[in-house]
């Protein structure tokens, strides 16, 4: 019923998202070339507040039954309500409420037993109602906080979460060449959680560290898919500078930034821009700016004269949103039909900080190593490998998971470890073979790839291919003695260069190499060269001293 694309004239809003604001003069504040830039910057205290729009990964939209899905044909996921067809009414999607509650709990918020929806009015072509349904005055979650580690994990900081509100996403406008704008309403009405922090972050680095921690939590509790390129995790940053900590400067809002690197750049750029303005005697204006991904600048978005007054009013078509707890749910006739906050709390998985803590404490991994596993949901795999083979070195196991298992998953675009056919038990077996010198690193890698292809157990692969190496000390000693004896008879010079005092000299190495080569030849390459090398050295030392 909805035409495939709504067409309209090119929009006039200067700097609207997607429009290249070519008519706005951009002055670049290139601070890196300024001498003493660092010194000057240090006199200023930047303050950053963040608003994160995280798309809820629910099956259907926040207030309609249309599917929530990326990359569907334009306007194929649009219900009458999403297109603001007259007479249609919003019906709250319980799944979205549940996910907002989970998010609130994970961010230590107070979940509001009763929350309300409001209308926020502004005309924009991809927002067909002429208003957005949001939670302005009484959001579902309030007064939380999040502890986040700085980039290297050395310090843990805290940011206050002001509130989490449920709201509708807008559609998308595509400004085509020529005078036409195309509108796709597939995204219109998808549920968003707007997570608002207090202005407590003081650098781009901290902002990114906080956002990464938040992102990890949302992934972990499964409330947002977090695909950055699809705009599922978008950030507005409110940035100001001041000379004293107690007083905040005029804030500038930069809207709609996706990607941690971009966020970092935007905040850095904006701080420097504001410092430059003030130091040149200017005044920072309160305004909304957009980030230009191509140039890396921020540019003014809205004409100051048409400053938005959103004319908030309560949404009359939605009754108050109630959630319950263990004690209040008992009074209901059908408790399973409502959201029980206590139940959601019990269902929350372990959060990234706890997981990292466990990995660091129990396995002595570094912060970076622990973070790496946690961010990729690989901690259980790692722990299982360690449980199967206690005497393995955790760092060796971590390294193997990173260099082989995850590399493989990335190469084949696998989303979970279940799709990689090497179980933790199998990997443990493989690493034990390596640990016990039954195979060398090269064979281990070959065994791993074979295991993926054939789904066979590493022990079986090594055995069937006869890849097991001769590494037991007695046999190796015997083989090396034989080789040395042979060489002494056939080519006495071969070993004459060995110097027990300088085992690492070129001549010594050459001598060892000759012995090993012969052993390899005699054993059809089945010798564990590492073991053989040690043994040969000892034998040659002994021979010299005796």
């Amino acid at each position: 019923m909805v035409p495939s694309l709504f067409m309209m004239q090119r929009c006039l809003f200067p700097g609207a998202i997607g429009c290249k604001p070519s008519f706005i003069l951009v002055k670049r504040y290139n601070c890196s070339s300024q001498k003493n830039a660092r010194l000057q910057d240090d006199r200023w205290i930047p303050t950053v507040g963040l608003e994160i729009h995280a798309q809820i990964n629910s099956q259907s939209k926040l207030f309609s039954s249309a599917k929530n899905q990326f990359m569907a044909p334009p306007n194929s996921l649009v219900s009458n309500f999403d297109a603001s067809i007259p007479g249609t009414l919003p019906v709250i999607n319980k799944e979205c409420v549940r996910k907002a509650v989970r998010t609130g709990l994970a961010l230590n918020c107070k979940i509001q037993k009763t929350s309300f929806f409001d209308r926020k009015h502004y005309f924009y072509s991809d927002m067909p109602q002429g208003y957005q349904i949001t939670q302005y005055k009484h959001p579902i979650a309030k007064n939380g906080y999040l502890h986040y580690p700085t980039a290297d994990g050395s310090v843990v900081k805290r940011v206050k979460i002001e509130q989490i509100q449920l709201e509708q996403d807008s559609g998308k406008s595509m400004h085509e060449e020529g005078q036409v704008t195309l509108i796709d309403l597939n995204r219109a009405g998808v549920g968003l959680m707007e997570i608002v922090t207090a202005p407590e972050v003081s650098s781009a680095g901290d902002a990114c560290a906080f956002l990464k921690e938040l992102y990890g939590i949302l992934m972990r509790i499964g409330t947002c898919d977090g695909k950055l390129a699809e705009g599922q995790f978008r950030v507005d940053a409110n940035i100001s500078i001041a000379q004293q900590k107690t007083k905040l400067g005029t804030r500038v809002e930069v809207k709609n930034i996706s990607g941690f690197k971009h966020i970092h750049n935007v905040i850095e750029y904006e701080i420097k821009r504001q410092i430059r303005i003030v130091e040149e005697g200017g005044i920072v204006e309160s305004e909304t700016r957009a980030f230009d991904y191509e140039t890396g600048f921020t540019v003014s978005m809205r004409d100051k004269e048409i400053k938005q007054d959103y004319r908030f009013m309560p949404e009359p078509n939605l009754p108050p949103l109630h959630v319950y707890d263990d004690s209040s749910v008992t009074s209901l006739s059908n408790p399973s039909s409502v959201i029980n906050v206590d139940q959601e709390r019990r269902n929350l998985p372990k959060l990234p900080a706890d997981i990292r803590g466990h990995l660091i404490e129990s396995f002595h991994l570094s912060f970076v190593e622990a973070e790496f596993l946690t961010n990729r949901n690989m901690e259980n795999y790692f722990i299982e490998v360690m449980e199967c083979a206690h005497n393995l070195n955790p760092t060796v196991v971590w390294n193997w998971i990173k260099m082989h298992v995850i590399a493989h998953m990335v190469e084949y675009n696998l989303s979970s470890i279940e799709e990689c056919y090497v179980s933790a038990r199998d990997l443990a077996a493989l690493l034990l073979l390596l640990h016990n010198n039954e195979i060398n690193a090269e064979t281990a890698h070959l065994t791993f790839t074979t295991a993926i292809q054939t789904r066979q157990h590493p022990d079986k692969i090594v055995e069937e291919n006869n890849w097991k190496m001769i590494s037991d000390k007695e046999t190796v000693t015997k083989l090396c003695e034989d080789a040395i004896a042979t060489l002494q008879c056939t080519d006495a010079k071969a070993l004459s260069g060995y110097d027990a005092d300088k085992p690492k000299s070129k001549a010594s190495k050459q001598a060892i190499k000759r012995v090993i080569m012969l052993v390899r030849k005699n054993t059809n390459d089945k010798i564990h060269t590492g073991v053989a090398k040690d043994v040969t050295m000892k034998l040659l030392n002994y021979k010299r001293t005796s």
């Binding site: 007259p86 067909p128 109602q129 078509n317």
Partner: protein
């Protein structure tokens, strides 16, 4: 018009006739189409469903259905699948919905035949059914069908005037209207039919094009209380598509032939006595109070102290919601769209051409009330006053909390006068008319309580005088019982119009 006009019979007896094959559905439809044609000059319908479409439908229709093909009409602000829904506005002149409102669907599913879409004030903003793109609807009372005078006729009342006229003339057995501040009760009273504004939330608003979401209620216009009860029982109940509808089951209303009012306490709101009310209406009101009293009801005077603020409060809340609800009409997805210009220019032009002055005025006022700097002063204050009005009414109905309480129904006028003449009415502005005519009806919308307009007698000018009854939330049973009693006691008769 024949002396035994089947089109003017009560629903229940026509259903009996259809069941006994005294008359066929086809015959009934033919006659209804003829009636619609005869009364065309009243301008009750914005659009009429093609006769062949309906005949085809009624032949296919299962005779065992509840409504057996009974003709009905729907105000043109209810969405009807594949049938244009204009809201009597240029904005939606060519708009055809792809879905039907829940209440419309319930009626067609029950076997009713939709005859057409009835006239209203644009987007239901008005009290006269005069501000419409198809022109005003005329009241059949004292209307000279043979020699119609273009200026000398009575207005139908609004905004559901088309529905009231369709029912009054027999062009439909019943009709759907919407009531936001009195839009069903007022035209019902002017046209001498029964008009029920049910409890907010008892009938689904899904598909009703919004005026004021927090006060809009779909309602029923019919010629007698029994017919209203019959249709109410089909329509009431929860709708998952409207989150503000009642949770759980709504009890069906069961009506006796001659209901007693012995157990009822009838409240007379003293603030409703006003110098502006016509003496004929005051007289009728007194008679009704006496009649209740004489038949065993306890009649008491009650106070609704905040009634006087109702009009101003309504105006602010209404405009605020109107400004918001109308924001969607930007000409992009549907509705009127002007050519050329950049986006904002196109919006402005489309909206300017699409809405009439009254709608534009309310949008402007509403946006003003909602501005950040004005919100507390107007909108928030109006919400607080609304709560006071609600509390007044709640208190009156509350059993066992003191003197000014324990009332079962309130008895009040519907409006200050009988239907005014068009030439007098047209001289006043839309907003002035609203203030004048919605004064006794708005409180019910503010509080959400059910209310009904019942025709009682004729004025000296031979125009219907009706009275209003109000009850507490979801107490339609008591309300309709009192209405039926009043109907039985009154001398009102549906006229034989001289088509």
């Amino acid at each position: 018009m024949s002396s035994t006009d089947v089109l003017m019979k009560p629903l229940v007896s026509v259903l009996q006739m259809l069941r006994n094959r005294v008359i066929s559905t086809e015959e009934l439809l033919h006659r209804t189409y003829t009636r619609i044609n005869e009364t065309k000059s009243l301008n009750a319908f914005v659009s009429v469903v093609e006769k062949n479409d309906n005949l085809e439908f009624c032949i296919k229709d299962d005779r065992s259905s509840i409504l057996k093909g009974i003709p009905f009409a729907v105000k043109d602000n209810f969405s009807t699948r594949n049938i244009s829904t204009t809201c009597a506005s240029n904005m939606l002149r060519n708009y055809v919905p792809t879905y039907s409102a829940t209440v419309v669907k319930k009626l067609t599913d029950a076997g009713g035949t939709l005859m057409g879409k009835t006239n209203l004030d644009e987007f239901a903003m008005g009290v006269g059914t005069v501000d419409s793109i198809i022109g005003p609807t005329r009241n059949p009372w004292q209307y000279d069908f043979q020699h119609p005078n273009p200026d000398d006729w009575y207005i139908a009342g609004g905004s559901s005037g088309g529905s009231a006229v369709a029912v009054a003339t027999g062009a439909s057995y019943f009709a759907l209207g919407s009531d936001t501040g009195g839009s069903i009760r007022l035209p019902a009273s002017f046209c001498g039919v029964v008009g029920l504004k049910p409890t907010y939330g008892s009938l689904s608003r899904h598909g009703l094009i919004s005026l004021v979401n927090s006060m809009d209620v779909p309602g029923i216009l019919a010629r007698c209380v029994d017919d209203v009860v019959f249709i109410y029982n089909i329509l009431s109940g929860n709708d998952p598509r409207d989150s503000t509808t009642v949770q759980g089951k709504v009890e069906k209303v069961v009506m006796e032939e001659n209901p007693s009012v012995k157990d009822l306490v009838v409240g007379i709101p003293k603030q409703y006595y006003g110098p502006d009310v016509s003496p004929e209406i005051i007289d009728c009101w007194k008679w009704a109070a006496d009649t209740f009293s004489n038949n065993g009801a306890k009649v008491v005077e009650v106070s609704l102290p905040h009634t006087q603020y109702s009009i101003v409060c309504y105006h602010v809340l209404c405009c605020g919601e109107v400004a918001s609800n109308m924001a969607r009409y930007d000409g992009l997805q549907y509705g009127h769209r002007s050519d050329g210009g950049f986006t904002e220019e196109m919006y402005a032009k489309s909206r300017n051409e699409g809405f009439n002055e009254s709608v534009r005025g309310r949008i402007t006022a509403g946006n003003y009330f909602l501005l950040r700097r004005n919100y507390r002063k107007y909108y928030e204050k109006a919400q607080k006053v609304r709560r006071l009005i609600q509390t007044d009414i709640k208190k009156v109905f509350d059993k066992g909390s003191g003197k000014n309480s324990g009332v079962d129904v309130l008895l009040a006028p519907v409006t200050v006068s009988t239907a005014p003449q068009y030439k007098t009415f047209a001289q006043k502005t839309n907003s002035y008319r609203t203030v004048e005519h919605d004064i006794y009806t708005q409180s019910a919308n503010m509080a959400g309580v059910p209310a009904i307009s019942v025709p009682v007698r004729l004025s000296q000018a031979k125009l219907p005088i009706s009275l209003q009854l109000l009850a507490s939330n979801f107490n339609e049973g008591t309300l309709l019982r009192a209405a039926k009693f009043l109907e039985n006691a009154s001398s009102f008769q549906h006229p034989k119009f001289d088509f």
